[in-house]
């Protein structure tokens, strides 16, 4: 019975050890309303100086991306678009060139389903506005005319820092991956000031590094239809979670929903999916892939994921059924009272 007495001693010591250990959780959480986006930032174990610096960095990067890449307000991107339409060589601003280069790569790997060169089509549907359009949608004639000469990213030639456009209909709109690009830059800069544990969630899309103290960061993925959280997952040391959904920007015209994710093959809002969630390391790639896979829809997403090297995908179709890669299925946990119908793809 000596064993029992010893265990009493241990048990009496235990509460003391616990209270010495984790009584001061050092989570700092803040919401920043930056131009057009709500940023939810969580920092674990950061010093007051790092917190102040981190908030400054986030504000600065988002403001910079917003002014540099605005697709319908006068600024650097509009000027680049004007000169691309002219067709002669010109010097590309250094803050835009890396986006064009990365945009070309992602355009190729997505088989053209991620196409930041079709800004004119986005405008045609009325989405180049701070207020949502009320319709009517563009006529079939207008769409056909655009598709007859559909510009892709191959219509931009690059020679060093010089670029030129070869299709006058080309108009860049980085809406489908500017946020991811900004989040990557923010994480890089947070690391450079010594922050090891953080989540940067820009308007619902996020990249997380490190951990929440002793445990992994936990993420909830919102239902594309209805309310609340559909599923959750715990993140690794450095992962991005991006979702493209038809509920983000849309209008209803004569009872029909028109959303902002356009299919370059039809010139119209992509049909078949309600949302696509991608987990990947780099945020910019996750962002572009979520768009491309949404456009590909329930039938084509697996091929596009393979081409783009994206291993973790969850697609919710317009009937509420869930389609997943095995790698995503292995870690996702449904949070709904009734589990949706799930189909797991055979190949990653």
């Amino acid at each position: 019975m000596k064993m029992l007495r010893r265990s009493l001693l241990l048990l009496l010591l235990l509460p003391g050890l616990i209270s010495c250990g984790g009584s001061q959780p050092s989570l700092h959480r803040a919401q920043l309303l930056s131009l057009g986006t709500l940023v939810d930032v969580s920092l674990w174990g950061a010093s007051p100086r790092q917190i102040t610096e981190a908030e400054r960095i986030i504000q600065e990067e988002l403001d910079r991306i917003h002014t540099t890449l605005h697709a319908w307000q006068p600024g650097p991107l509009m000027e680049v678009n004007r000169r691309l339409a002219e067709g002669s060589w010109f010097h590309c601003p250094p803050e835009i060139l890396p986006l064009i280069e990365q945009g070309k790569r992602l355009y190729r790997s997505s088989g053209g389903l991620f196409n930041p060169a079709m800004g004119r089509l986005v405008g045609l549907w009325g989405f180049h506005s701070d207020d949502l359009p009320g319709g009517p949608p563009p006529s079939a004639d207008e769409i056909d005319r655009f598709l007859a000469n559909l510009p892709g990213m191959e219509a931009i030639e690059i020679k060093g820092e010089q670029i030129r456009g070869t299709n006058p209909a080309l108009q860049l709109d980085f809406g489908a991956f500017a946020k991811g690009y900004a989040v990557d830059r923010i994480i890089e800069r947070l690391r450079s000031i010594g922050i090891r544990n953080a989540i940067v969630n820009a308007g619902g899309d996020l990249r997380a590094i490190g951990r929440h103290g002793e445990r992994a960061w936990r993420i909830g993925i919102r239902q594309p239809r209805g309310e609340g959280v559909l599923a959750s997952l715990e993140l690794g040391e450095d992962e991005s979670v991006f979702t493209s959904g038809d509920y983000e920007r849309f209008y209803i015209y004569q009872g029909k929903r028109y959303h902002h994710i356009l299919d370059p093959r039809t010139g119209a809002p992509a049909r078949g999916a309600s949302s696509v969630t991608v987990v990947h390391r780099e945020a910019a790639e996750a962002d572009a892939a979520a768009t491309a896979l949404f456009v590909a829809g329930p039938q084509g997403w697996q091929d596009v994921a393979r081409r783009m090297g994206i291993e973790q995908v969850m697609l919710v179709d317009d009937k509420g059924n869930v389609w997943m890669t095995p790698a995503m299925a292995a870690r996702i946990r449904f949070e709904t009272a009734q589990k949706p119908r799930v189909t797991i793809s055979e190949q990653p």
Partner: protein, 125 residues
């Protein structure tokens, strides 16, 4: 000399251990932060004083483009109405757990439920 296999002291140890276990369970597990207690409201970047979620009420908050209405009941909160065109804030529905948040960007109003130990650290959408 024969001593009983289990002495009075041993029973005391057992009893104390069980009490301790009950105390540990109560303090470390049962208050796992399933529901948040405080609502934080951010209006145009400024935080209003935190509001308890335990008291049922409807709040009108003036934002950049008009008035948003919030409803608090049973420890949860939601946007009831907002002057924005997209109505994403209203569609977000009820927030009840620490860490959950919702925002009306056009009206520059953001809500977050306080509490470090909510079910989720952040929400993807």
């Amino acid at each position: 000399m024969n001593t009983p296999l289990v002495t009075r002291g041993d029973w005391l140890v057992l009893g104390a251990s069980l009490l301790l276990l009950a105390w540990l369970y109560a303090t470390l597990w049962s208050s796992g932060g399933e529901t948040g207690g405080q609502l934080h409201i951010l209006v145009d970047g400024r935080e209003l004083p935190p509001i308890s979620l335990q008291q049922e009420r409807t709040l009108a908050i003036d934002g950049s483009i008009g008035t948003s209405t919030l409803r608090i009941e049973n420890g949860r909160v939601r946007f009831l109405s907002s002057p924005c065109p997209g109505q994403q804030c209203v569609h977000t529905g009820w927030l009840s757990h620490g860490g959950e948040f919702a925002a009306c960007l056009p009206n520059r109003i953001a809500l977050q439920i306080g509490g470090d130990e909510g079910r989720f650290d952040t929400i993807n959408f």
